[in-house]
């Protein structure tokens, strides 16, 4: 993935949590506003009742309004918070009784009952004002009654409601966030489980994915499976092709070689014999090169995706020694394996076997007859040493020898492709090790494969 990589799970989590937060805040605001309205309406109703009872207590005598303020008009405004109550009675624009400045004229009877919130006496008050025209003598008189109450009790109620609303909102948010985390995790889980199952597979495991997945994932799985099938088919095809090609080439080569050998036994003329001999050598050369090129390709391919398992190096070497003993015997060479107890490492058995076989092949090729080729498995550090009693590596070429197609200057006519040490070195490097070449003082050479 390139650029800003996004996490589906994180995105889902944050979307859900953000939504929950928004809902919690909205809930809080709605509850608070609604509660404020209800509380305000309650206060207004009481103020209206108080106002009405004051209004009712007013009588007009000789064009002059008289108000006998009833106690009950204020008693109904008693609150737990000891809110203060103010009142004012005006005839026309003139104050008859009550607090000056609570309400200012001119008053208009057509306005009806009017509520206002304003500052008075150093506090915020809710003011109810009503103007009425009372019939008296020649012209009616205007009576205006104003009642105001501080808002301490209201604020207390509102605070209590706000705190509760905030608590509910917070609890809702915490719950919703928890559910968001759980939901996003369980939604993404099949995806990550599938990814894990695919990642856990060995490099050669191209079976289709069969685990049940959510329907949303099935297009992905279907295309993944079709890719795997195609890849597997193409791998099998190239493997079959290589096997088939090898078969087609090697079988006629074997025919030619066997014919040449049989003919060589029967012909006497020197030039014919020389021709047959070089024919056999050319066949050996080409088949060996083909084999090692394939081996080298395999080492490169497998080295990229190393299949590590627990393997016993001594077991691998013993198998190789058994297998190569008949070849060694043909030169009257002895193959000796030095090891005590299994030496276990994590590695690719096929690669390591291939590398060691190349080292032993080399040792067998360059050893003088009736000598000994020594294979030693060391434990600390883990290494496989292959030593022969041959002429050794040319000192000035030591570093170049493990390069591809590079052969020692003293290889002479010995059949070889120059890939053996390259393969061994590649295998060592794929396992995080190295190949070391050294000449022995008493003659002979050692190749050490550190793993």
């Amino acid at each position: 993935m390139r650029g800003s990589a996004t996490s589906l799970r994180r995105r889902l989590t944050w979307t859900l949590i953000g939504g929950a937060a928004l809902l919690a805040v909205l809930f809080f605001l709605v509850v608070r506003t609604y509660a404020q309205q209800i509380a305000q309406q309650g206060q207004d109703r009481i103020l209206e009742a108080s106002l009405t009872s004051l209004m009712d207590a007013a009588v007009v005598r000789d064009g002059q309004i008289e108000v006998d303020v009833p106690y009950a008009a204020f008693a109904m405004l008693d609150t737990a918070a000891d809110d203060r109550v103010f009142y004012a009675v005006h005839q026309g624009d003139a104050l008859l009784t009550g607090y000056d400045g609570l309400a200012e004229g001119p008053f208009d009877p057509s306005v009806g009952l009017d509520f206002q919130t304003q500052a008075f006496g150093g506090a915020e008050v809710r003011l109810a004002t009503l103007t009425r025209a009372l019939p008296a003598g020649p012209a009616p008189v205007l009576l205006t009654v104003s009642v105001a109450q501080t808002r301490d009790s209201l604020a207390g109620t509102l605070w209590a409601i706000s705190v509760n609303a905030a608590l509910f909102g917070g609890a809702f948010f915490v719950l919703a966030a928890g559910m968001a985390l759980w939901t996003s995790r369980s939604t993404v889980r099949p995806l990550s489980q599938m990814a894990e199952a695919v990642a856990r597979r060995g490099p050669r495991d191209l079976r289709p994915v069969v685990r049940p997945v959510p329907t949303e994932l099935s297009p992905l799985v279907t295309s993944l499976n079709s890719l795997m099938t195609r890849l597997s088919a193409s791998l099998t095809q190239s493997e079959t092709f290589i096997a088939e090609a090898a078969h087609r080439v090697r079988t006629p080569l074997a025919t030619v070689r066997t014919h040449a050998e049989a003919t060589l036994m029967r012909v006497d003329k020197d030039e014919n014999r020389a021709a047959l001999r070089s024919m056999i050598r050319a066949i050996d050369e080409s088949s060996r090169a083909a084999g090692q090129l394939l081996d080298h390709a395999m080492v490169t391919f497998r080295g990229d995706q190393l299949e590590r398992r627990q393997i016993d190096l001594v077991g691998i070497c013993r198998e190789l020694v058994d297998r190569l003993t008949p070849v060694a015997e043909m030169k009257d060479l002895e193959l000796v394996l030095l090891a005590d107890g299994p030496v276990e490492v994590q590695g690719d058995p096929i690669l390591i076997q291939n590398a060691v076989r190349n080292l032993i092949d080399n040792a067998l090729k360059y050893s003088p007859p009736e000598g000994t080729v020594r294979i030693e498995v060391r434990r600390d550090p883990v290494a496989i040493v292959v030593c022969d009693e041959g002429g050794g590596f040319p000192a000035e070429q030591m570093t170049e020898l493990s390069q591809r197609f590079q052969r020692g200057a003293n290889a002479g006519d010995t059949v070889g492709s120059g890939l053996g040490l390259t393969i061994a070195q590649d295998v060592a490097e794929a396992h995080g090790g190295r190949l070391e070449l050294a000449n022995l003082d008493g003659g002979g050479a050692c190749a050490t494969l550190y793993l």
């Binding site: 493997e239 096997a243 080569l253 074997a254 025919t255 066997t258 030169k331 096929i350 006519d413």
Partner: protein, 221 residues
């Protein structure tokens, strides 16, 4: 020794049969797996040489059947493939050894002998000349009840002489047989091995005579 070769390539089979007979072996050739089974039903063989890709089936299936029938004739697989995994599975299925084509005939012989040595310890057909007997599988020369173990090249050289007594072998030919066409070997190397054989044969009635300009010959009496 008696071999059964199961190989569909007529050219290779022909060449291999010729080569085997030149060494004095008996070899039957079957071109298909079913022919091979027929041969096995009527005849006894010391060793089976089995190709792995055959027209009427996979050699591996044959191996499985062969082992299931508790036939313990050893099998050496001749394969044109070089995948290591293929080789391992063949050994798992009961092949005694395998050889990748094209192969050195001397190596095939060496492997056959090694397999037989593992299986039976000695050859059914011991080569007798005069008062000497050679067991090529155990690599033992017996003269007058006395055993001498031969090195591999000594064995191959003596086998050659004992299979064709009275025939003169040139140094050149002997070099080819013993050193697998390795260009670095000189003809003088042969003299070393002939010298050793003469020493081993001292107590017997056999002698190796030198024919100047021609080569060596095994004489009886």
């Amino acid at each position: 020794m008696k071999y059964l070769l199961i190989e569909d390539n007529a050219e290779l089979a022909g060449a291999l049969c010729t080569r085997m007979r030149l060494d004095g072996h008996v070899i039957d050739h079957a071109a298909t797996l079913s022919d091979g089974s027929d041969f096995l039903r009527v005849g006894e063989y010391d060793l089976i040489l089995l190709d792995i890709m055959l027209p009427d089936g996979d050699g591996r299936a044959f191996l499985e059947r062969h082992r299931a029938q508790e036939d313990d004739t050893p099998v050496i697989v001749l394969t044109a493939r070089s995948e290591v995994s293929d080789r391992v599975s063949m050994l798992d299925l009961g092949a005694d050894d395998y050889l990748t084509k094209p192969f050195d005939h001397a190596e095939l012989q060496a492997r056959c002998r090694a397999v037989l040595r593992r299986r039976t310890g000695s050859a059914q057909t011991v080569i007798r000349r005069g008062d000497a007997a050679l067991d090529p599988v155990a690599s033992v020369l017996t003269i007058g009840g006395h055993d001498v173990t031969l090195r591999n090249r000594e064995l191959r050289l003596l086998e050659l002489f004992m299979n064709a007594p009275g025939q003169i072998f040139s140094k050149d030919k002997l070099v080819d047989r013993l050193f697998s066409y390795d260009g670095t070997v000189t003809e003088n190397a042969i003299e070393v091995y002939v010298g050793r054989l003469r020493k081993h044969l001292e107590p017997s009635s056999l002698t190796i005579s030198t024919h100047r300009g021609l080569g060596y010959r095994l004489d009886e009496g």
